[in-house]
């Protein structure tokens, strides 16, 4: 069975149509089936529709995604209440421990992301993993910093990632590896993207799952939840009766 590869974090500006078209076309040529470009508040519905059209033209499934940098717990819950039902994937950038804990607890959060350049702000520890394992949130790892950093800063990032990935595996928290790139030259083939995960302790099967099965499962689960037929996990409306 062939794997359906996903890159849930292409950071191109969707307003720049030419760059978006090039990146999406390249992703299709590289064999990605699912891609996601984070939504910006300035993006109109028409532009979003156009983005979906560009993706469908090249045979790629577009996943709507929103990234959020909350300042406090209240900020996060307010955002989730407002946007959860509008997007297929919600990623929370955790800048503080308070936000990280709340995001890991909340079942409406799909991806937990931590700053790559400030290792003091990487709060993915055992407590965080335990909360995330109960709420089905996944740990997102962007590989772009591994490509652009050099020397001690890359060593420090790799140390953090190796520790976090080991904790995530212990608590069975899914790991999603994304590119996080905005430039074409930094895009990698899905298997090359997966091979970068060897650097922080994933084996071949786990690395391939992190760029295929894990992100696809999140998208599938959320699409099911967002469909009109969804009632509760495992319960869907299959036929509606007429009201008498």
């Amino acid at each position: 069975m062939t794997r359906a590869f996903a890159d849930l974090h292409l950071r191109v500006n969707p307003k720049d149509q030419r760059a978006t078209q090039q990146l999406v076309t390249k992703a299709a040529r590289f064999g990605y089936r699912l891609i996601s470009i984070p939504f910006t508040s300035k993006l109109s519905e028409a532009e979003l529709t156009q983005l979906k059209t560009i993706c469908s033209e090249v045979g790629v499934d577009f996943v709507s995604r929103a990234d959020f940098h909350p300042r406090s717990e209240n900020d996060l819950t307010h955002f989730l209440r407002k946007f959860r039902r509008r997007f297929e994937v919600i990623c929370v950038m955790c800048d503080s421990k308070e936000v990280a804990r709340q995001a890991a607890k909340d079942r409406r959060v799909d991806l937990l992301s931590f700053p790559s350049f400030d290792y003091h702000k990487r709060f993915f520890d055992r407590a965080e993993a335990e909360l995330a394992s109960c709420s089905l949130a996944a740990l997102e790892v962007d590989v772009k910093p591994l490509l652009i950093l050099e020397g001690p800063s890359r060593v420090r990032l790799l140390m953090s990632l190796r520790r976090e990935v080991a904790i995530a595996r212990e608590f069975r928290v899914p790991i999603v590896v994304s590119s996080g790139v905005a430039e074409e030259r930094l895009m990698r083939l899905p298997r090359d993207l997966a091979s970068l995960a060897f650097l922080f302790g994933l084996d071949e099967a786990q690395a391939l799952n992190a760029v295929s099965t894990s992100p696809a499962a999140i998208v599938r689960r959320n699409r099911e939840k967002l469909s009109k037929r969804f009632v509760a996990p495992g319960i869907t409306v299959i036929k509606e009766g007429k009201s008498s």
Partner: protein, 104 residues
């Protein structure tokens, strides 16, 4: 002595200019050394078998035990000979004959 198992990798080089064979293999060695150090690089048994300048396709040989080391290192290459570049793995095989047969 136990025979060392090897793998051959076909690589596509995406580069702004036309790099030489020397520049390419130097970039590969630099990437491996940067990530895994000199001792790690010495365990790879890395060798450049073929380099097609026209198509920017290269064939590398590596020991099977160090395949993951090389794959991770190749993915981190962002420049070759001072020009922006990316290396993609087109295929991996245990024999050169199978590698060329799959490439065709």
């Amino acid at each position: 002595m136990k025979r060392v198992k090897r793998r051959y990798l076909a690589l596509q080089l995406e580069c702004e200019g036309i790099p030489t064979e020397r520049e390419f293999i130097d970039a590969v060695w630099a990437a491996v050394t940067k990530l895994y150090g000199e001792v790690g690089a010495s365990l790879t048994g890395l060798a450049l078998i073929d380099f097609d300048v026209e198509r920017n396709v290269a064939v590398l040989r590596v020991s099977l035990a160090a395949l993951n080391i090389l794959r991770a290192s190749l993915a981190t290459i962002t420049s070759v000979g001072g020009k922006e570049a990316a290396v993609q793995v087109l295929g991996i095989s245990g024999t050169l004959r199978a590698l060329y047969a799959n490439a065709k």
